[in-house]
Symmetry: C2
Subunit: 413 residues, 2 copies
């Protein structure tokens, strides 16, 4: 049988679970005994265009090393923010990539990422079809935002959700100690989709009902209702804890922080929408003149491997393995997806879908999963989220901190 | 033998380890078999003045329940921010408190807290001496800031330090994935003492040298040196990661954020000094026009039990036990302290010191433990910090989040 060779890349923002999918792909490539080379491209397709890649089989020749990779956050292969031009716009880029594929006798191409990465998979597979190339292009989803279409949920989301729920619980304990009226606002990532903010509800226990209020970008934000909601919570308790998505908007579509002094901008001047908590903090203080604190969970929610979800890491590993199995049954131009069979006992299956029907679409929380008052989630959404944060990961520690995979190869020029 | 009865209180800000000291005191009271009642005051001395207390022996009658308490963050007994007036200012308050002590036949009084709490212990023991009361007043230190005098370090600091080091490591991984120049500024708690910011250096491993720069409140901040430091790091790497204390000041003594639009104020209008990261973010962006992000670790650094230090929890438990032993050898007006015998193998002993010689003083980082360039720590400081974050805590989890002690009693009016 002819030996296979593949490329694996990672792209988009980091998650705690994206290396678990990488480990799953490598594991399955080894397990099938059909792969001679398993190349990792450094910094995604952009790095590949500069011939930056190396054979992963040299670094990951034991199950122990693969487990270590599975337990390392961020991206072992590095990332790029790169929108592949269309073939019509830039045929040279395609020719360059496929020249490399041909030179290395590539049979399979695995790309782990979010929406932009799935767009890349769609374009490359269409081009391959066009030139009658037999290479298989498979997309493996990941994003903490859980906003990809076609899959029950995305790898990486469960770990971020577990970090959010645990942090929310600890913030609630922290806020419980004084006998004074106080409002704590926790700002959570998610520009257009509120999944991660909704996951803060998983912090609720028999003795903790925080977050008391949850505001999501799927429904318009109304200042008067918001202040009234707080007033109502104050009737029954002193410490009000609020979970809010960075991307909540007024009914007219404006972000809360679009004209704020706290609005952060990236290097290109794009507003980063992380001043929402500060805007609400001022709003609350003006109305209630009580202690108010806003907390931005920031990048820790996407990279906190030390409180990752075991379910998420296991599923992310499995979807990587399934990507290889799928490619070997001659599929191409597909994204791997999870299909939920049932909540209890929680059961999912791995399938695949046409990537071009999924890429560039956005999965948001269905309105019927948000309560009528637009300040909390329904039981259906809670039940959907619950299985995804289960299980704790037994990380290896060294010198008091987690021992993560060496990423010196990302620091070279 | 006459039975003993004691009060235990907690005061000041929360830490991950303050309940471990509470558990240690209860454990030792039970172990000596000499205590009939072990009362917990709710919300410290302020709650005691309102007769808010209950017998802890009813809730904690097994080792398992005490372990659960040891593994719960924030403050099981609640806190107060209350400066006890002097006897001359307000004799009634003292008479009220000692009336309660007499009524309940109190023999021992344990107060776990920071500087203000030690001031309370000093004043109560002086009053007791004045009226010839035989009650023993013992202070047990705690603070994430590690700024109490007379003790090698404070309970609670090690866990906060482990959170800071782990988060710094994960932020470094998160920042490693793109091929672009970027500066990440991590703002860490500590108004006058930089211990916790210094602990970010514990994130360094063979393959991670972040934080690249560390700025502490013990030495003046200079804008030109700061920008030059970054320029120098950029010569050898793309991603610059900076740890900065919220309380850094210019040579003229002004906080960086004192006139900033980002300076936060509490309900009393006091500046909270947590805009430092934002001020530096703007400073860096103006100079380098690169991607800049500031991250405020916020209250999570003091309450993140899920990544607590086992050494810290064990020591905090032990110092609680020693407080009872000390009280039973007829000591009063003392604060329990740690004395470090050696770094390797790490060995400490519990002793006690006159609390009035310690209260209201502040322990800052010795200048000789900061490097000459004022942008990093020395090996001596690293070696001092290292043992304090060792060991991981095996928490109990339920439904995907940590299972912490029920604190419904703090929510009652």
């Amino acid at each position: 049988m002819k030996k296979r060779n593949c490329f694996i890349g990672q792209s988009g923002g980091p998650t705690a679970a994206i290396n678990a999918s990488l480990a799953g792909i490598i594991y399955e490539c080894i397990d099938t005994k059909q792969f001679e080379h398993v190349y990792g491209m450094i910094n995604g397709v952009k790095g590949l265009l500069e011939n930056k890649y190396f054979d992963l089989l040299e670094n990951f020749d034991t199950d122990e090393k693969l487990l270590h990779l599975k337990h390392s956050p961020a991206m072992y292969l590095g990332s790029c923010r790169y929108k592949l031009p269309t073939y019509q716009e830039d045929p040279q880029t395609y020719e360059l990539l496929f020249h490399t594929f041909e030179k290395l006798e590539i049979t399979d191409f695995y790309y782990i990422g979010g929406n932009d990465s799935m767009d890349t998979v769609a374009k490359l597979s269409q081009y391959a079809h066009f030139i009658h190339s037999p290479i298989h292009f498979i997309g493996i989803p990941k994003t903490i935002d859980n906003d990809l279409m076609g899959t029950d949920h995305t790898p990486g989301f469960g770990s971020a959700a577990k970090y959010v729920a645990t942090s929310m619980l600890e913030i609630a304990y922290d806020s419980s100690i004084y006998k004074l009226n106080a409002v704590t606002i926790v700002e959570i990532m998610g520009r257009n989709a509120g999944w991660l903010t909704a996951a803060s509800a998983l912090a609720r226990t028999e003795s903790n009902d925080a977050p008391d209020l949850i505001y999501l970008p799927e429904v318009p934000f109304d200042k008067e209702s918001f202040l009234n909601d707080i007033r109502n919570v104050f009737k029954r308790k002193r410490s009000v804890i609020i979970a809010v998505s960075e991307g909540i908007k007024y009914a007219n579509g404006e972000f809360l922080d679009s004209d704020s002094q706290y609005a952060k901008r990236d290097a290109f001047g794009h507003i980063l929408h992380s001043g929402t908590g500060k805007v609400l903090e001022t709003m609350v203080y003006k109305e209630f003149k009580c202690k108010v604190r806003s907390i931005e969970l920031n990048v820790l929610q996407r990279c906190a491997m030390h409180i990752a979800s075991q379910v998420d890491l296991d599923e992310s590993f499995q979807i990587g393995r399934h990507a290889v199995k799928t490619s070997m049954t001659d599929q191409t131009g597909v994204m791997m997806v999870f299909q939920r069979i049932q909540n209890s006992p929680y059961t999912i299956e791995c399938h695949h879908k046409d990537v071009s029907s999924i890429a560039n679409l956005e999965q948001r929380i269905p309105i019927e999963w948000i309560n009528e008052e637009h300040n909390d989630i329904t039981k259906e959404l809670y039940d959907y989220l619950f299985p995804l944060i289960q299980g704790e990961v037994a990380l290896q520690y060294q010198n008091g901190i987690p021992l993560y995979a060496n990423i010196d190869h990302l620091k070279k020029d």
